[in-house]
Amino acid sequence: MSVRLGVDTARDLLARSRLKSYAAAAAATVVASGLHERASDASGADRALLGLTLPLVVPMACYAVFDCAFGAAKSSLRTEPLARYGADRFRVTLGLDAVAVATCAVLAAALALLAVLAASAMPMHALGDIYASVWGGALVGAAYGCLLALGSTWGRAGRLWLLLGDWVFGSGTGAAALPWVRGHARTLLGGEPVLRTSPALATVSLLVLASLCVLAAARRGPR
């Protein structure tokens, strides 16, 4: 019941926010970038994905999702009015985060798809790229969502600090990039790998990171 209350609350919060405008702005940016990088082979899609979409637009779009859901306050403030009547804080938080993370995944998948379609002169020849980009984008979006769910337990400042850490440490290819989403996302989508890991290992790393972050987010604070 408490998880469902969190899910319903998150859906209402996102439906009544400016998320659609932010998503439209992100989509327009990605399409413009894709058209700028447009090429007859896969290089255009790669440049569009790894140049602007993945490093900048996807993290910012995921940040916007959490900002629409939680605002500047700590995510626990959204659970308190329900917890006071007997809802389990841990489960309400899980429900809230589940909707926000799923929204991030769908949004990131859509942005990756748009980037590939806009950057490929012959999209029908790039079906393999499209498939890989959509599920890769969804996984990266979900991982960013989980990272931001953890950051939201400290409020907007927490999200910004974690995104900054992701930018600074995740941009490298050394051991410092291991606990961050950015490096594994780049590896997954064909960019320079972290510690020469394979895309398969990057997938596992993203799943582990995402699970740890969302559980830590829900576990912080009392029930």
Partner: protein
């Protein structure tokens, strides 16, 4: 027998509160409205005290969702769960406490159904407290009823609060009323305790006629 116990509780303006409240009506009074509101907030489980613990039948209230479901409360400052309108927000509060009543019925019983389509954010402090009072008094399984200034909401005049409190007591529940008003305290048969300089203490026996059982 239900018992709510404060063990070494301190939070903000409330510097020290200890004691247990059993199945009777206890009236707490005091000059500091913030400290009084804090007593109610910690006893409702809405606020985790900075120090100490509040136990309901030996179970920590702030970390036990099942215990919080057994408490009906009216705080000094209320917030409804986020929802598109008041009706949906009340429905969420009812679901959180496992109550099968319809939100519209709860609001209608107190004449508040006219607000049901308004956004919770549009309600002012008094309106939010009125909705919270309706939620508290409609809680038919409540084992603790803890109210801050229950006579000071816009719906208070339209209902018999004393009768509602008496019905709750007859179920064997604990009733705690916090009010800064001397007249209000007398109306509830108190005061039994007072918050003075942030410290909750029993009122001297010779200064008021105590009802039996209240023993912080």
């Amino acid at each position: 027998m239900t018992q709510i116990e404060l063990r070494g509780v301190a939070h903000g303006a409330l510097r020290a509160a200890a004691g247990s409240f059993a199945c009777t009506c206890t009236v707490i009074t005091g000059d500091d409205a913030r400290a009084l509101a804090t007593v109610v907030a910690v006893m409702s489980g809405a606020v985790r005290p900075e120090r100490g613990v509040v136990l309901l039948d030996g179970v920590p209230l702030d970390t036990t969702p099942g215990a919080r479901r057994r408490v009906a409360s009216l705080l000094g400052s209320e917030n409804l769960p986020f929802a598109r309108d008041v009706d949906a927000a009340v429905a969420r509060a009812l679901r959180a406490r496992g109550d099968v009543q319809r939100s519209h019925d709860v609001l209608a019983r107190f004449g508040l159904d006219v607000w049901s389509r308004r956004a919770p954010n549009d309600l002012d402090r008094d309106e939010l407290r009125s909705v919270a009072l309706a939620l508290a008094l409609s809680h038919e399984q409540a084992e603790v009823l803890v109210l801050y200034e229950p006579l000071a909401t816009s719906v208070s005049a339209a209902m018999s609060l004393e009768m509602a409190a008496r019905r709750t007591l007859e179920r064997g529940a604990v009733v705690v009323i916090a009010t800064a008003s001397r007249a209000g305290a007398l109306r509830w048969g108190g005061p039994h305790c007072a918050v003075s300089d942030g410290v909750l203490a029993p009122v001297a026996h010779d200064s008021v006629a105590r009802s039996d059982g209240a023993a912080p």
